[in-house]
Amino acid sequence: MDEKIILKYTDIPEQKNIDTYIKNGGYKALQRALSEYKPDEIIHLVDKSGLRGRGGAGFPTGKKWSFIPQNIPLPKYLVCNTDEGEPGTFKDREIIEGDPHLVIEGIAISSYAIGAHKAYIYIRGEFAKGAEILTRAINQAKEKGFIGENILGLGFDFDIDVYRGAGAYICGEETALLDSIEGKRAMPRLKPPHPVAKGLYSSPTVINNVETLANVPRIIENSAEWFAGIGTPHSTGTKIFCISGDVNNPGVYEVPMGTPLKELLEMAGGIKDGKKLKAFFPGGPSTPILTSAHLNVGMDFESLKKIGSMLGSGAIIVLDEDRSIIKTVARLTEFYRNESCGKCSPCREGTDWLLKVYQRIIDNKGKKEDIDLLLNICEDIYGTTFCPLGDAATMPVISSIKYFRKEYEEYINGKCSNINN
C-alpha cells in the first residue's frame, strides 16, 4: 500500500515534540510557503492539488479560500474545526494527539494564504488531552518563532488560540461553531452571508477540518501534482477512515482515495467471529447505509455518490449479519433527536416523532403503517430544514428502509430473527 501522508509519524510518541517534528522535516513547508510563495500562489497550489474538505461535504479547499475578499478593511480568520462530533469518527483526534505540529503548520500556511493573522482551533470539549497537547505544541512553536510576530523573520504575524467546545454535535456545523466561539449558544446561522464573507465577529472566515489542513504542508513539501496523483481524478490524496463496529481491528486507516471498501475491511481484520457483512455506513450515520452488495465500492466522493451514498467524515461503521437494523437505526435516531439544536421545526419535531415511532416498533407495538409513517416524516424533514443536520437524520432511516424493508416488516410482525442484537 502507498505511503501515508498524514498518519506518517503518529505512531512515534515523540512526534508531539517540536524537536522530533522538525527532525522529521517539520516546519520546512511553512518556511518555504512564507519565503517562496505569495498568498494567492498558495491558494492556486492547493486548488491545483484537488484537495477537498475532509469535514463531510468535500468542498474544494482552494476554491473556498479564494472566496475570501482581500480588499476590505476587516481582519480575516481561519478556524480549524476539531469538533469531530459525527458518531464513529475519531480521526481528527488521532491527528491532533499524534502529530499536533502538523496541524499547526497547516493552519499557519493556510492562514498566510487567506491573509488571516489569527486562527482558532475549535476543539471538542471532551478532547481534554488533545487540547492539552495542542496547547503545549503551540507554546513550543511560539518559542521557536513559528507562531508570533514576524514569523521566521519573513514578515508574517500570526497567532493561534485553542477554544474548547461547548459539547453538542451542532457545534461542528461551521456557523454554529462560530457562534460558539463568540460565546453564544451554538445554533446555525442564516446563509448567505457565508462565513467567507461574514463569519467570526462578522469578518471573513475560513473553516476547515483538521484533516484538510493537515494535508496542506504536504502539498507544499511535495507538489500539487504529486498530491493530485494520489487517489482518483476528482478525489485526490489520501483519506483517513475510522473503522468501527463488527470488525476484528477497529481503528484509523489512511489509504488513497478510491480504495475499495473490501480492502479496508481486510485491513481491519475482517468481520468479527467470521461472520458475514450485513451493512455499513460509509461515512458516519449521516450518510446512507450500504450493504454487502456494495463491497467493491471505491471509497471516494464520486463512487459513493454514484451509488446513492456519501463519503462523509470517513467513519465506516460495520454491521455483521446478526445485527438488528431497526435497533441500530433507532439508536442513531435517538442521537439526532437529542442533538438537533432545536432551531427549526422539521428537525426538532420530526426527529422526536421518528424516535417515538421507532420506540413503538421496538416495544413490539409497531404497526405495518409505521414504515410508511417513518418515510413520510423523513420526506417532510428532508430539504425543509435550516441546516444539514435535519437532512442527515433522515439518511439512516430512508436508506435502511430501502435496503431492509423486509426486516422492518418482520420486526413489526414479531418474526424477526435478530431482534436482540
Binding site: 442533538e339 438537533s340 432545536g342 427549526c344 421545526s345 422539521p346 417532510d380
Partner: protein, 680 residues
C-alpha cells in the same frame, strides 16, 4: 429606478424596494403565505419553515421570510410540493402541541389554529402519541405575562423582541432539540417595562395576558382604536371591551399607516395601566364640602352652585378674580372649551395648563420646527439629553434602542443618572443635575470661535461663561465636550431629544440647533424632539396662547385677588414643584372646583368636587410629542357627565351659548389653532 426590483409571484408581477423579503412582496399582492417566526417588526430568522416557497432555478424550497427579492425572480407559493411540505411543517408544530384550545386564551387569535385550519390537515399519526407530548414546569414570570411552555412552538419572537428592542438579556433557550424551552435566566421574573409585547408577539398561547386571563373570548369582545393617555408618546392602542368593561388593551397592529405612530409596541404602563379605572376610589358623583367633610349632591345642584359662585366673584371682584388650570392630559377639545370659557366669554386672563412658566409663543415657534416621528429614520444620529427617555416616553426609548442597537444609528447620551440606554450609546456621559443649559452652552463654545459667541450670549446670565465655568458647573471635562461637539458637527443630521417641559433647555438646544444647521448647510436639518410626561402637552401649549401663565395665577391668589379657581383634572399639590407655596395658594382661594377621576391631594382644598372621565371613555384628540394630532375613541361609556358638556353647562349658566352637539364640531373649530407655522 435603481432601488426597486421586479419579480413574479404566482404569475403576477410586482415591483418592490430591493431589500424586501419575498413574503412581504407576496403580501403586497394579497397572496398569503403562512408564517410563525416571521414578524414585520423583527429580523427574520427562518426557523419555523412554514413559509416555504418554490423559486425557479433553486433546487430546494426556500423560506420566503429570509429570501430577499431579486430582479426576474419567479416564485410559486402554492405548488403541490409547497402545499405538501407546508402541511408537514404544521403537522410537526402540532406534534408536541397540547391542543388544549378550549382552555387557551389565544383561542380565536392563534396563528397555529388559524394556519392549520387553512393549510394543514392533521396527520393521522399525530393523535397516536398524545400521552407522550412534552411538558414543562410552570413558574412565575411576573404580574403581566402567563407562561404556558407546553404550547410554545419555539418561533423565538419573544427572545428576539428582548434582543432587538428591550435589550435586557431576559429570555433564552434552554436545553436542546425537542426539549428546548424558553425561560428567563435563573427563572427570574420578566423585567417589567415592556414584557406585555411578548403577549402579542407570541403566535400561540404560550405567553398570554395574565390580567385578561380567562376573562373573555376574543369573539365575545368589541374593540376600538384609541390613543394611550399615559405619556407623551401617543401610542396607538386597541381597547377591548365586553359589556362596557375594558378587558384588555393591546397594541394596534393595523395602524401602521399613521404618521403619529413609532412602531406598534406598547410599554407595560400603557398595556396594563388602565386598571386604575376599576378602582373603588374613583369619584362617581359630585361632592360638596360641608362641616363634616364631603357629601354627595346632584349634578344639577353642583352646576348651580358653581355658576352662582362664579357670578358672585365676577360681580364683586371683577373678571380677573376667577381662573382655571387644566391638565395636559385633557383632550384638545376640552382644553379648547375650557380656555374659551375663561378667556373669550368671561374675559379673564387667568387660564393655563399644568405648571408652565414661559410664554407659549416662543416655545410654539420652536416646537413647530421639531421632528415628527416619521423624520426619525431619516436622522443620522440621536443626542438624548436629560430626559430619562425610557421612563418618560417608554416606547420612544424602545424605538431608539432598536434603531441604535440593531440598525446602527449613532446615539449620544447625556444624563445625570443611569437611564438604561447606556448600552446603546456610542458615547454616554453624566453631568451635574440641572446644568443642562450650561452643558449646551459648553457645546456651543466648542463649536464656535470665541468671536462669534457674542451674538448668541445675549441670554441673561450667560454673559460671563467660559469653558471653565461650564466644566465646573456640569462636571463634564472640556475633552468630552469637544468630543460631543465634533460628533454633532459630523456630516449628518441629528435629532436632539430633550425634556420638552424644561423650557430653558428647549431654548438652549434651539440655539445649538440653529448653529449646527448654519454650519452644515448642505445637510438635512437637525431637529429637536421634545419629550413629555402628559399625552397632550403640545396640544395644550398650542391652544392656550397669549395668556398669563400659571405663575401669574399663583401670584394673583397669593395676593388674595383670586376668588374662584377651576381645576380640571390637574392636581397641583402633587404635581407642581413648590408644594408649600401651592398649598398656601389653594388655602387663599375662596372657592375651588376640582374635577378629576380620583380624589387627589388637591381635593381637600376644593369646595366642590366633580367626577371626571378616564381617557378611555373620551372622544377627542391629543397632540403627541412628535407633533401629530391623534384621535381618541370612546372605548367605554361612563355614566357621569362629560367634561366638555360640563363646561358648556357652566357657560350656559353664565348666559353664554356654546352651541356644540358633538366633539367633532368643537374639533373643527379648534383645529386651526394646532396648525404649525408655515405649514398651512
Amino acid at each position: 429606478m435603481e432601488n426597486v426590483v421586479t419579480l413574479t409571484i404566482d404569475g403576477r408581477e410586482i415591483t418592490v424596494p430591493n431589500e424586501t423579503m419575498v413574503i412581504e412582496a407576496a403580501k403586497k399582492l394579497g397572496i398569503e403565505i403562512p408564517y410563525f417566526c416571521y414578524h414585520p417588526l423583527l429580523k427574520s430568522v427562518g426557523c419555523c419553515r412554514a413559509c416555504l416557497v418554490e423559486v425557479e432555478g433553486m433546487p430546494k424550497l426556500q423560506t420566503s421570510c429570509t429570501l430577499p427579492v431579486r430582479n426576474g425572480m419567479v416564485v410559486k407559493t402554492n405548488t403541490p410540493l409547497v402545499q405538501k411540505r407546508r402541511k408537514g411543517v404544521i403537522a410537526f408544530l402540532l406534534a408536541n402541541h397540547p391542543l388544549d384550545c378550549p382552555v387557551c386564551d389565544q383561542g380565536g387569535e392563534c396563528d397555529l389554529q388559524n394556519f392549520s385550519h387553512r393549510y394543514g390537515s392533521a396527520v393521522s399519526g399525530l393523535k397516536e402519541f398524545k400521552d407522550q407530548k412534552r411538558t414543562f414546569q410552570k413558574y412565575y414570570i411576573g404580574p403581566f405575562v402567563e407562561r404556558e411552555m407546553n404550547r410554545c412552538i419555539l418561533c423565538k419572537r419573544c427572545i428576539r423582541f428582548y434582543d432587538e428592542y428591550a435589550g435586557e438579556t431576559t429570555l433564552g433557550e434552554f436545553e436542546r432539540a425537542a426539549d428546548t424551552e424558553i425561560r428567563t435566566f435563573y427563572q427570574t421574573e420578566f423585567n417589567p417595562g415592556f414584557s406585555g409585547n411578548t403577549i402579542f408577539l407570541c403566535p400561540v398561547g404560550a405567553l398570554t395576558d395574565k390580567v385578561y386571563r380567562f376573562k373573555a373570548r376574543v369573539w365575545d369582545m368589541e374593540s376600538v382604536t384609541s390613543v394611550c393617555p399615559l405619556c407623551g408618546t401617543g401610542c396607538s392602542i386597541r381597547i377591548w371591551t365586553r359589556n362596557n368593561r375594558i378587558m384588555r388593551i393591546t397594541p394596534d397592529m393595523n395602524n401602521n399607516s399613521n404618521k403619529g405612530v413609532l412602531n406598534n409596541f406598547l410599554c407595560d404602563r400603557g398595556q396594563f395601566g388602565f386598571q386604575y379605572i376599576f378602582s373603588n376610589e374613583r369619584i362617581r358623583t359630585p361632592l360638596i364640602k360641608d362641616k363634616n367633610g364631603f357629601v354627595p349632591i346632584s349634578y344639577e345642584k353642583a352646576i348651580d352652585i358653581i355658576v352662582s359662585r362664579l357670578k358672585k366673584s365676577i360681580a364683586e371682584s371683577g373678571v380677573d378674580s376667577v381662573g382655571g388650570i387644566v391638565s395636559a392630559s385633557c383632550t384638545c377639545e376640552e382644553i379648547y372649551l375650557f380656555q374659551k370659557l375663561f378667556k373669550e366669554y368671561i374675559g379673564s386672563a387667568n387660564v393655563d395648563f399644568q405648571s408652565r412658566i414661559s410664554d407659549s409663543k416662543q416655545v410654539n415657534a420652536i416646537l413647530d420646527e421639531s421632528a415628527e416621528y416619521s423624520d426619525l429614520p431619516g436622522s443620522g444620529g440621536f443626542f438624548v439629553l436629560g430626559t430619562n427617555i425610557l421612563h418618560r416616553q417608554p416606547v420612544l426609548g424602545l424605538y431608539l434602542r432598536n434603531l441604535t442597537k440593531i440598525k446602527g444609528y449613532t446615539l449620544l447620551l447625556a444624563e445625570p443618572y443611569k437611564t438604561g440606554m447606556e448600552d446603546c450609546a456610542t458615547l454616554s456621559i453624566s453631568y451635574t443635575p440641572g446644568t443642562e443649559a450650561y452643558l449646551i452652552y459648553g457645546l456651543i463654545l466648542c463649536m464656535l470661535n470665541p468671536e462669534n459667541i457674542e451674538e448668541i450670549s445675549h441670554r441673561e446670565g450667560f454673559e460671563k461663561i467660559t469653558i471653565e465655568t461650564v466644566e465646573q458647573a456640569t462636571g463634564v471635562s472640556k475633552e468630552i465636550l469637544q468630543k460631543i461637539s465634533s460628533a454633532l458637527l459630523d456630516k449628518k443630521s441629528w435629532t436632539i431629544i430633550i425634556d420638552g417641559e424644561k423650557e430653558s433647555v428647549l431654548f438652549s438646544v434651539h440655539n445649538l440647533i440653529m448653529i449646527l444647521n448654519n454650519m452644515k448647510k448642505d445637510i438635512t436639518k437637525s431637529k429637536i424632539l421634545p419629550v413629555f410626561s402628559r399625552p397632550n402637552h403640545r396640544g395644550a401649549m398650542k391652544i392656550i396662547q397669549k395668556s398669563f401663565n400659571v405663575r401669574k395665577i399663583i401670584d394673583a391668589s397669593l395676593s388674595g385677588k383670586l376668588k374662584f379657581l377651576y381645576l380640571l383634572e390637574v392636581d397641583p399639590v402633587s404635581e407642581f414643584l413648590d408644594r408649600k407655596e401651592i398649598e398656601s395658594v389653594l388655602k387663599n382661594v375662596e372657592f375651588i372646583v376640582a374635577q378629576d377621576v380620583f380624589l387627589t391631594e388637591t381635593s381637600q382644598y376644593a369646595s366642590i368636587i366633580l367626577p371626571g372621565k378616564p381617557s378611555y371613555a373620551k372622544q377627542g384628540s391629543f397632540v403627541c410629542s412628535g407633533g401629530i394630532v391623534r384621535d381618541l375613541q370612546e372605548g367605554i361609556k361612563e355614566n357621569m357627565e362629560s367634561e366638555w358638556k360640563t363646561i358648556i353647562r357652566i357657560a350656559e349658566g353664565l348666559g353664554y351659548q356654546m352651541k356644540y352637539d358633538t366633539i367633532d364640531e368643537i374639533k373643527n373649530e379648534m383645529l386651526p389653532l394646532l396648525q404649525k407655522k408655515g405649514k398651512e
